[in-house]
Symmetry: C2
Subunit: 137 residues, 2 copies
């Protein structure tokens, strides 16, 4: 886990928050070099498929000119939903670091998924998500 | 089930086949009017997320200017994969007509999914898929 890259993912989540999107950020890296940065754009682009992870996969694929993202790692602030988890499988991304677990969908049996316990990171993102959903009530 | 619309989905699958893509076509319709036509573009666009269903959702959302596709129906030549099934859930599409079942992933418990038994349609698509995969061996 590269702290600097996870910080970039958190920064992407903040960008989403400021735009009124569910605050999720994702970064794809290869050999600790950033390949793609993305955040949730469902509302802005009016497209339910544009979760941070999907946009990151699209950007990374464009950059490496290949739909296969073997040897790439994803840093994402929230555990991926079913759509994104399936897209990650298709993309062949080899490792996924995430900060917040979702009850329904924990990838506990999938060794590719690594829950990052970093008090500062976890708190920041949890706070961002909770503030977002409170503001929507 | 509207036969004319399913024929358009089959036609999209043929377009994919001609381009060397896995031959899958999808159409989104509302009140029996076509909203979006799409076929698999994974290889052309080098993006593993660009299955026919995802592209159809993107196009339909643009057209109706809303990520919510309530009251829309999807016609798709192959039973959706896990990524597409989850995207369909998110999109709120209300009904999915499909021609070919996949063993692993049959949505038998989901009343939204309707397996279309039409000998002519089923044969055409099965033949297209089998020919495609034979040619790749």
């Amino acid at each position: 886990m590269n702290n600097k890259i996870m910080k970039l993912a958190i920064n992407e989540a903040k960008k989403a928050y400021k735009k009124g999107e569910v605050p999720v950020g994702a970064v794809i890296a290869k050999n600790n070099k950033v390949v793609a940065l993305a955040h949730n754009e469902v509302e802005k682009k009016k497209n339910c498929t544009l979760h941070a992870e999907i946009i990151a996969i699209t950007k990374a694929s464009k950059k490496v000119k290949n739909w296969r993202l073997n040897d790439c790692e994803m840093y994402v602030t929230l555990e991926p939903c079913a759509m994104c988890a399936a897209a990650i499988e298709l993309s062949r991304i080899s490792k996924i670091y995430f900060l917040i677990k979702k009850d329904k969908n924990i990838k506990i049996n999938d060794k590719k998924y690594i829950y990052v316990e970093d008090n500062d990171f976890n708190k920041k993102i949890l706070n961002l998500i909770q503030t977002f959903f409170k503001s929507k009530r």
